[in-house]
């Protein structure tokens, strides 16, 4: 199925239940955002200003009578393996959980970022050196989460093992 506003494939299927009879809409990502922006009112905290303007804001939350397609729900259920945040959480709160989200949700975030900034690549300053390789950084985040779980489960043997691993990576 094609987007009703352009020729791209329709990714978002929205059923409006607010009128007399249900209205079906089929949009590509861009036009879905446009549509949902028109129908939703923005909140006004500093960061979410631009975000709500660009994000195909959670139709579930903003418009309780709107049914969301299975595709959208599947995107929402994606979870970052490092920090455990779901894409749904992000859409709801407007905050990502960890650095890895930029890569694991890249498919959803890239158009969003381009929409907000009109660009997709950083050209400003860089830190003089990268101290922690991306890989190790992700491992550390995951280990810290595991450590928290181990402590909550009172598995102190496991906790001390994880602590050692964290120390090793930190050095």
């Amino acid at each position: 199925m094609k987007c009703q506003k352009c020729n791209k494939p329709a990714m978002f299927h929205i059923t409006e239940l607010t009128g007399d009879k249900p209205e079906e809409h089929h949009f590509c990502e861009l036009h879905a955002k446009e549509y949902l922006n028109e129908t939703s009112q923005n909140s006004d905290t500093e960061s979410s200003d631009g975000l709500t303007a660009a994000l195909a804001d959670s139709p579930v939350q903003k418009n309780p009578m709107t049914k969301v397609s299975a595709e959208l729900q599947a995107i929402d259920r994606q979870v970052c393996p490092v920090c455990g945040i779901s894409f749904y959480d992000f859409r709801n709160r407007g905050r990502l959980g960890c650095a890895n989200d930029y890569d694991c949700f890249a498919k959803q975030l890239e158009p969003l970022i381009t929409n907000i900034h009109g660009a997709s690549e950083h050209v400003g300053k860089k830190p003089s050196e990268i101290k922690l390789q991306l890989n190790d950084s992700m491992k550390l985040i995951k280990l810290r989460r595991d450590l928290d779980t181990a402590i909550n489960e009172e598995d102190y043997k496991k906790a001390s093992k994880i602590r050692d691993e964290i120390k090793k990576l930190e050095n």
Binding site: S47, G50, I85, A99, H122
Partner: protein
């Protein structure tokens, strides 16, 4: 700490900077996150404590120990938090969120680092007057020093990673606070807003995120943080702000020429009200102080300096008022005390 601050006027309110008749202050903030830790929303208390401790340790290495306050916001009394908020040293988010969080405040109040706000670090600096490049030099230097000891979360393509994609890239927000009473009166301000939108600059009011701009104070800032260098982002404001200043000045001239009586009336009513009120709220105070400030610049009101007016803007806010009086007050009592404070400080005019 607060006692020491009470005796000094925030640098950004000293009102001697460039274009200070219209520009109240100019600020830049940088959003930074540490690699190896989840962003603040997913951070455990243990993570938050580690982040706080790391920044504290590094700060002691790179700054003179006696040159800054390190304030744990989670254990700070509410009134003191509000005091720091009114001074624009910390944000409402830092005041109201929960969990371990802190602020490193330079004793001259020339820069501040919020820890565990929306991002692990929010470094910001403010000056009075419109001098964004000077602020950038200060912040850039601090950021360079910090990055020698801290491991920033940096993406090869996206730059500095932030908890919200709206800040990714440079993590930089440049903002300027303008006093635009004449544009507000002549309703030309709508035009300004529309043109700002076209160049991706955002406008908001000064006090409270949700409230309408009070006291004709407007904050203009860049919306984009990615795909432009830091100096380029500053340039966008440098290109636009002078135009707004010219526009405001023209509107002031127009009002002085065409509606002199109305303008005189507005200013003298404001003075009358501020000098005679027996109880007055903070929003109403801001409103009239705005007219007073305009009157001083137009030469309608004499015997008071802009510095003194700026001081009144700050000191009549709830937490400042209570700190000056040295006691906690209910809102009703605050309004009475505010009126008293204004009367005693406006005796000369």
């Amino acid at each position: 700490m607060i006692d020491e601050m009470l005796s000094q006027l925030s640098q950004w309110l000293q009102g001697e900077g460039l274009e200070s008749e219209i520009v109240i202050s100019c600020r830049i903030r940088l959003a930074r996150n540490l690699s190896g830790y989840p962003f603040v929303t997913r951070a455990t208390e243990t993570d938050r404590r580690s982040i706080r401790d790391i920044v504290y340790r590094v700060a002691n290495e790179i700054f003179e120990q006696s040159s800054f306050y390190f304030v744990d916001i989670d254990t700070l009394p509410t009134l003191d938090r509000m005091y720091l908020l009114e001074r624009q040293l910390i944000s409402r988010e830092l005041v109201e969120s929960v969990g371990i969080r802190a602020a490193l405040i330079d004793k001259n109040e020339s820069f501040c680092i919020m820890i565990n706000e929306e991002d692990h670090l929010r470094i910001h600096a403010t000056t009075s007057g419109f001098e964004p490049m000077r602020i950038w030099q200060i912040l850039n230097e601090i950021d360079d020093k910090l990055s020698k000891s801290l491991s920033y979360s940096f993406h090869p393509k996206l730059g500095y990673l932030s908890a919200c994609p709206t800040n990714v890239g440079t993590g930089m927000r440049v903002s300027v606070m303008l006093h635009l009473p004449a544009l507000a009166v002549t309703k030309e301000i709508e035009k300004v807003f529309r043109s700002l939108k076209k160049v991706h600059l955002a406008v908001r009011g000064l006090y409270g995120e949700n409230s309408q701009p009070v006291g004709d104070l407007y904050q203009i800032s860049n919306q984009i943080t990615l795909g432009k260098t830091e100096p380029e982002l500053i340039k966008t404001l440098q290109n636009f702000v002078p135009q707004i200043l010219t526009f405001e000045k023209q509107s002031r001239d127009f009002l002085m020429r065409e509606q002199r009586e109305i303008l005189l009336d507005r200013c003298s009513r404001a003075v009358g009200l501020l000098k005679t009120a027996r109880t007055i709220g903070s929003v109403e105070t801001l409103h009239h102080l705005s007219s007073l400030r305009l009157g001083v610049h137009l030469g309608i009101i004499e015997n008071i300096t802009i510095d003194e007016v700026n001081r009144l803007f700050l000191n009549t806010q709830p937490a400042h008022l209570q700190k000056i009086l040295g006691e906690q007050l209910s809102q009703n009592n605050r309004d009475v005390e505010r009126a008293k404070y204004l009367r005693s400080n406006l005796g000369s005019i």
